[in-house]
Amino acid sequence: MPATRPSGPDPTPAIEVVGLHKRYGDQIVLADLDLSVPVGSVTALLGPNGAGKTTTVSILSTLLPADGGTARVLGHDVAREPQAVRRLIGVTGQLSAVDPLLTVVENLRLMADLVHLPRAEGRRRAAGLVERFGLGDAARKPAQQLSGGMTRKLDLAMTLVGDPRVVFLDEPTTGLDPRARRDLWEQVRTLVGHGTTVLLTTQYLDEADQLADRVAVLHEGRLVAHDTPAGLKAAHDAGSLDDVFLALTAPGAPSGADSKEVA
């Protein structure tokens, strides 16, 4: 591998996307997307429905091939080394990715077995995650009997069994009540406190404001802004991310051209 560049403490970004293209038929979903996420940070991908947020996560998590450009996770190309990428990431998507017929503990142990933890270690980690996510009362219940908030917690707990270095959260709090959202935010903060990199997509601007070190605003498949929440507000002379979002993603707003100057 090439030698380390002298600048910066960690030259390999957790996520590095260059010139990413994706189209479905005639519809261009991602048009020349560039994005870099440093290790240990939380980046929120923000954008209206159809802006390409989920597509970006799907490409980065090896579910979907890109039509052009490159995407790397911790230096591994997602197209050429998907198995290496899969060893480093954890994904919580919009669809609940739990086995509805298995109990909470069985779901966690299934993940422990699939990441090849020794049995005792798998049991210990499953028990630890049950504790950490407050799933103790539900531990022996089939997942299909859990509430939406509990299911989402189990989903994230399953993602964390393998101790992933980079975690993708695709709209993690959509449909949750305010308390469940706050619980989940706490979990994300804990995660980042342990040095994990998080890329989350969200439609909730307060969520991005609360959690993200950096906010990347997608509009029509391009990055139209990439900055800290405070930086974005200052640059757009706006009181809240809501105003920034509305200004950047208004119909007919210039897309792409100004991304370089803002980012």
């Binding site: 390999t12 970004p13 579910l63 060893r87 954890g90 298995l102 699939l114």
Partner: protein, 277 residues
Amino acid sequence: MTAAVGPVVPVAAAPRPTQDLVTMTRRSLLHMARYPSLTGVVVGMPVVLLLLFVYVFGGAFGAGVAEGVAPGAAGRAAYLDYIAPTMLVMTATAVAQATAISVAMDMTGGIVTRLRTMPVAPVAVLGGHVVGAVVQTLVATAAVLGVAVLLGFRPEAGVGEWLALVGFFTLLTLALTWVTVGMGVAARSVESASNTPMIFLLLPFLGSGFVPVDTMPTAVRVFAEHQPFTPVIETLRGLLGGGDLAAGTAWTAVAWCVGLALLGWWWARATYRRPRA
């Protein structure tokens, strides 16, 4: 902007497909143990068909499957001998259909999306369903065979034939379930995954499953003689009957099963990683 690459984060562990297959098979068996009604359904369907065909149609049909048999009780006994092997095949097809549904539930739920972002081989994810189905089929078939024996069916297989039966039946189950796993992976919905395997429930009727093929009109007979279920059912009849079996029929059946298993495996594997909207 250049794709500047710093040192990559090394990834050590090697894949362990066999261990993953064991894990996914355990999950499949856990589903079956927790929801025994599913196994009840796959046993119940062939048992109902068996009772129906023996006690409603058997008295009349028996005269058509064996020479010199009078309608009535003798006919029923002759017909039971004729269709008991068919019912074992119907049991395997019922399990295969249930497998397509389980796979489609996995595929349309989020769990497979999660597994596809993990370094788990497709053959382990799908093979877990297949191995589970083999176990379920052997258990369910033994139950159906037990009912047939209660009704008066008397297999004449010796030790060698029983071993060959178990081996052949396992191969048949691998063939049927790899194809229905492919159907489940390819299905856009759970409903369509429950419909496509119907072809396997229908084919024994268009073969030697219920009546001898030489009683059929030419076009139907030609189809019946050349579709996989006819040699499969004839092989089972031969083995259960104590060895009255043409080698050509048995090898044709084995070739069909190996071919279908490989085709289904290839199809399921190729479709598993297809991007799903």
